[in-house]
Symmetry: C2
Subunit: 375 residues, 2 copies
Amino acid sequence: MVIGLMGFGTIGAGVYELARELPGLEVRHVLDIREIGIPELTHRAEDLWEDPEVDTVIEVMGGLHPAYEFVTSALQAGKNVVTANKYLVATYYDELLALAREKGVAFRCTAAVGGGIGWLTALERVRRLEPVLSVEGIMNGTTNYILTNMTQNGLSFEIALSEAQALGYAEADPSADIDGLDIMHKLLLSANIAFDVSLKKEEIPVFGIRNITDEDVRNFKEHSLTCKILGSARQQEGKVAAFVQPTLLAADSLTASVPTNFNLISYETAYTGKMSFYGQGAGRYPTAANVVQDCLDLAGGVQDFYSLQSAAAAVDNSIARYRYYLRTASLKRVTVAEEHWGNAVVTKAMTVTEMKKLYDELKGEDEKLFIAAIG
Amino acid sequence: MVIGLMGFGTIGAGVYELARELPGLEVRHVLDIREIGIPELTHRAEDLWEDPEVDTVIEVMGGLHPAYEFVTSALQAGKNVVTANKYLVATYYDELLALAREKGVAFRCTAAVGGGIGWLTALERVRRLEPVLSVEGIMNGTTNYILTNMTQNGLSFEIALSEAQALGYAEADPSADIDGLDIMHKLLLSANIAFDVSLKKEEIPVFGIRNITDEDVRNFKEHSLTCKILGSARQQEGKVAAFVQPTLLAADSLTASVPTNFNLISYETAYTGKMSFYGQGAGRYPTAANVVQDCLDLAGGVQDFYSLQSAAAAVDNSIARYRYYLRTASLKRVTVAEEHWGNAVVTKAMTVTEMKKLYDELKGEDEKLFIAAIG
């Protein structure tokens, strides 16, 4: 396999190092705008797809542009594409897959969800035999690090976040993590592959953890609950639900026990039951390892990563129902309270659709609003 | 793929049901001694390997004999073999793999370890890229059910065991589970595939849970520890350690949180780091699903399950060192105690080799002896 590698950042340098050690894989070109002092370096993206000997292009630049243009050009030139770029794939899912199909090439993105966890490959495998009923899990290490630190050490959100930033887990602008958008992209890809559908980003409600306080966490602990932010999707009676929300779990449950920046993602099927996968959700080598594993699958003859004929499906969260922890300064507007927990309430069971509507109404009056489903 | 199925018990009936639903798989013959009222039934084992159209024989009879003779005959006739029989594979590992290699056929046994968890397949995948440093985990649902019940509900060992028997998790003779032999077989297969070696059963020390008492469990709880019985193997400086032992884990750790009859098995590698797999370790459909997944891998062109050239390796547990909880009526003979926990002691750090020697010495005087490593 002759590879053109786009991007020599954290992941790219890891891919370069791992791929070079394997017989049968050759990194022929490396695209980067910097002078990085390796013989394969080029500043011309075209070099990768104009080289007829390159059969596979790996995109680990990140971001939407020019990653989108480069990946499109590579597919059009008949190259297989392997990427770890969840933002790219979640945004142009239908278009990129249709192009890959048209050109008869493979498109793989195992490292886009769960980093070092071969999660999408595991979904691909189980789907050969049985339909997937649901996917759910901790899909973002930064927020899990923050929540673990708040729970175990009683830190405020602000201090836990700045520690995560100091350790390099969180970006200077942490919005994509703490507002749940990173999880939403990973959930969308997981649901698309699990259920053979194509969901729209803007239909997936996302409740983040930006407003969680140490007082909230103390409230949860008093009820032997631990807060995790989960991506969750299920398929039922022809409907697909998908949402991202902070969720309160029994403190001694498996998911509640996931520490620091680890991920734990699960599927449920009719025959195998519940299967969970735990590992490093990010990081140079874990992520690079799954990028290279995708290449090994291609080299071994695996082509179809997942169905290339997914049907568009509307998100319908009326099939998912929870009681919610709800803390807001506008409590007088909340008519669904069943219990009081400190300065917050616990609502009666309501659908995620109903909560999204209530949340949007309250948000206009109370920017500091926080909600969490009771899982 | 035309299949000859040996055994129509719990797993076999599940395989029959799942395989029939898949295009491309045909179950041509089913071997069973009973009259089970299906058209594919035969009482003649030879029918399976004498049929030139059968390419794959599935063995889910269990036990050593006649499973060994039948599997050998099938391999000799040039059939691929898929089995869930850990006892068979762990006992005749070298011989069966050499025969498969000689005949140029495939031998797969994913369901032999972890039931519904595609554990051996996951090991196979990660090994393509990076060496495995260690494997460890909860590999037996019966003992995990007993230990969970003792920990959460304060039951005695005897009552927890009889509940497990009533639920069908434990056999009438539970020795293979509670003495750790079932785990030892699964550990041996995991280590062989992870490290590309061939270990000998009799070299793997096995410490069981037959003697654990509710008083031991109270002792552990007072120190915020939870007892699990783990199979554990590692490779280091050219040496391979492998052992089965009750292990005390922080009560809020992931492995300690594994409930009832579930399994959680982990590997550690240089690049990917720690990866854990959680799921149903047994049961008709989970186990049958992995048997059928092995068939789908074969049908998809995957042949080599793992290296067919594993080197014999002596188990050397001098590279594994723990402090041990040790409860014995012969305490006066124990010179390695550092702390007293109730009527037990905690030893200074010692190798598993040293503990095995001490254990065997003490066992002669005290049949009720119990030890657990502090993990």
